[in-house]
Symmetry: C2
Subunit: 191 residues, 2 copies
C-alpha cells in the first residue's frame, strides 16, 4: 500500500483513566489518555500531563497520585472531569473517594480499579511533564476479579481516539498474545 | 462498592504498536504495549521497553525509531514480533519496509499508520527505559483518512490486556469526548 504523509500530531489509541490528586487540600480528578505502564519491576506507570493543568500542582506537592479506571457506565462523569479544571471548579464531590496507605492519593470508589502511586520522577518536556509513579497499592471490585485475575470484560474500560474525540468500549476478542503468532513462527522455522 | 487489594503489578489497557529500529544494520520490529503520547507540542511519543530486549540497542545507536499501528488483520505477524527476539531471529523480512526522512527508522508498509520518531530523551528506570521520541513524520494509507482525519474504524487497531493476554478490537462507540459530560456539567451549575 502506498502511503500519504499526514500531520505529525498523530494520536495512537488511548486508555481512559482518571488521575486523582489533592490540590490545596481538595480532592481533584482529571481525565487522562496519555497513560501507560513504564517499568516492570517495581511496577511503575507514566502519565503525560500538560503543564497548564491543575493536576501537576497536586502531584508535585504531595508526590503521590492515583490512576483510576472508569467503566463505560461512568462515561458522563469521566468526560466531565476533562471538561472542567480544578482551578475553576471543585471536583471533590463528583465521586465517593477512598484512601489507601499513601493518604494523599484520592481514589474513586465507583471505579472498578484504582491504583495509588508514589511519584518516582517527573520528566519535563516542552509543554507536558511525564509523571512516573510506582504503583504502591491496587484496589479492585471483587466483581471484576475472576480466579484472582482482572476480567477486562467486567471492568468494561473506555478507550479514546483523537481527533475524532471518540470514546470506545472494548470490542471483539481478536486473539491471544504470545500465542496468535505461533503458527507464523512455525512457518518461518520451516522455511 | 467495597474494594479488595490486588497485586500492584496491574496493567491498564494498552494500544498495540510495532516499534521499528535498525539494529546492527538490520531492520527489526518489536511488539510494544507500553506506548503513549508524551508531549503536545512538538508532538512526542513515549515507549517503555525492557532493557533486556534487542530494540533498545537500535534506538540508542541510531537515535531514531518508528511506531507502527497494525490493523487486527495483521494479528499473527504482530504477535510473532513479540514472541521472538531480534537477537535470535532475523525479523527484517516479516514486513515490506519503507523509509521516511530519518533514513534509519524502518516503517511497515502494511500498517495503516506509521510514525517516524527522532529520539529526544531516554529515561532509565530499574528494568525499563522510557524512549521519548518526537514524531517527525506520519504516514497513512489513504483508505484510513476521511475528510483529512484518521478514521479509527478503518484503521481497526488492536488493544491488549494483561495478564489475560488478550488482544481486542475497538468495540461500540460509547460517546464523544469533551461532549458526553456536558449534561452533568449543566447539572452541577444548577445546584
Amino acid at each position: 500500500m502506498e502511503k500519504i504523509a499526514v500531520g505529525t500530531n498523530f494520536f495512537i489509541p488511548m486508555p481512559v483513566v482518571l488521575v486523582g490528586t489533592q490540590v490545596n487540600g481538595k480532592d481533584n480528578f482529571m481525565t487522562v489518555g496519555w497513560c501507560s505502564r513504564a517499568n516492570a519491576n517495581p511496577p511503575m506507570i507514566v502519565c503525560g500531563i500538560g503543564d497548564h493543568h491543575h493536576t501537576p500542582r497536586g502531584i508535585t506537592r504531595a508526590k503521590t497520585f492515583s490512576v483510576n479506571i472508569p467503566s463505560s457506565a461512568m462515561l458522563e462523569k469521566t468526560d466531565y472531569c476533562g471538561l472542567v479544571s480544578g482551578a475553576d471548579v471543585d471536583k471533590s464531590k463528583v465521586f465517593e473517594v477512598f484512601y489507601g496507605a499513601l493518604r494523599t492519593a484520592p481514589m474513586i470508589r465507583d471505579c472498578p480499579v484504582a491504583l495509588e502511586c508514589r511519584l518516582v520522577q517527573a520528566v519535563g518536556l516542552p509543554t507536558n511533564t511525564l509523571f512516573i509513579g510506582e504503583i504502591s497499592g491496587a484496589y479492585a471490585d471483587p466483581a471484576v476479579i475472576k480466579g484472582g485475575k482482572p476480567d477486562f470484560s467486567a471492568i468494561d474500560p473506555l478507550l479514546l481516539t483523537m481527533p475524532d474525540n471518540t470514546y470506545w468500549q472494548l470490542g471483539k476478542v481478536a486473539g491471544k498474545a504470545w500465542n496468535a503468532g505461533l503458527t507464523f513462527k512455525k512457518g518461518t522455522q520451516e522455511m
